[in-house]
């Protein structure tokens, strides 16, 4: 596994205990998995995403990523409605590895309560959790 120092954790997003991230975009939040999570998984060969319109509770299983005979469940960092998913991941799942915070985004959600975002960890808190 890479050292945590070699991984990238932007300052402008927040992180969940389960290694998902959320970034505000207008009234919505963009969601993906962190550089730590993609590195942990290895080469991703398949991404399963939810249907748009689905309502998620916080921590709910919203899809999965598959690598090397391993399926990892994805858990919603925020409650809300799925308004868009990244269809490009169907053909290019490896973007989750190469660009976890950009091309590898997974879904956009309309939050049930925008203030939930403040309960997620900032970069420093997430790094502290990773370093255990």
């Amino acid at each position: 596994m890479k050292d945590i120092e070699e991984l990238h954790f932007p300052e402008d997003i927040r992180y969940s205990q389960d290694h998902e991230w959320a970034r505000p975009e207008g009234d919505l939040f963009v969601v993906g998995i962190s550089d730590y999570a993609q590195d942990q998984l290895g080469d991703i060969v398949f991404v399963e995403l939810p249907a748009t319109g689905r309502t998620l509770t916080e921590g709910e299983d919203f899809g999965s990523v598959e690598s090397v005979k391993a399926v990892s469940e994805l858990l919603a960092p925020l409650a809300g409605e799925v308004v868009a998913v990244n269809a490009e991941l169907e053909d290019q799942p490896e973007m989750v590895n190469s660009q976890p915070y950009k091309g590898g985004w997974m879904m956009k959600i309309k939050p049930a309560n925008g203030a939930d975002y403040d309960q997620l960890m900032d970069r420093d808190a997430y790094l502290n959790m990773l370093k255990g």
């Binding site: 596994m1 399963e48 690598s67 005979k69 391993a70 399926v71 990892s72 469940e73």
Partner: protein
Amino acid sequence: MTAAYLLDLPRTDYSEALALQRAAVDARRSGRLDRDLVILLEHPPVFTLGRRGGRENLLISEAILQEKGIAIVPVERGGDITYHGPGQLVVYPLIDLTAARIKVVELVTAMETAMVRTAAQWGVSARGDTVHRGAWVGPRKLGSVGITVRRSVSFHGLALNVTTDRTPFTWINPCGIQSCEMTTLAREAGAAVSMETVRQQMVAHLGLLLDLTFERVSRDTLAPMVQEAA
């Protein structure tokens, strides 16, 4: 070395073992289960489908399977359709990967290596494969791997064919690969192979590879920590 629990079960129904695994994963995540847990068992005959399905790799009709009393169970693990049955050693490592600082790919590789080293003790030269994961003897598949990670905790695991009846494998394209021939340790060794000895060897290899020391526990010991859904 980290202390872990080892649960060595007799032949156990697939759905029953799956419920136990799911309950133990929840318990591990919440901390009620205070150590990683490795489960060893055999299943009665059953086919399981991976998260991406695999029904198209079933080559006989489901009606025939029903007649034979063999169920098809869809599960959340990686990989495609596979068969479990008597004579096949199944190992489920429930490991908090974040706490153990083990990558998913490292766990998969460790499971392959444990199968390869166990086979070597019977004079069988097997190898892992970074593309078609599993343990292989030449072009023949000796053992399979497929795991799920839920909130950082792994479950599902490996299946090593020791004395398994190979007939049910001919009813599927195992692992979704066409014309992938399955084999067993007994067949490759050309000798009788003791499942009990294989279990002991497997535990020793997994302990070394995953840096775990095992304390054998019973289901009754685990019960207060692992509340199974009714």
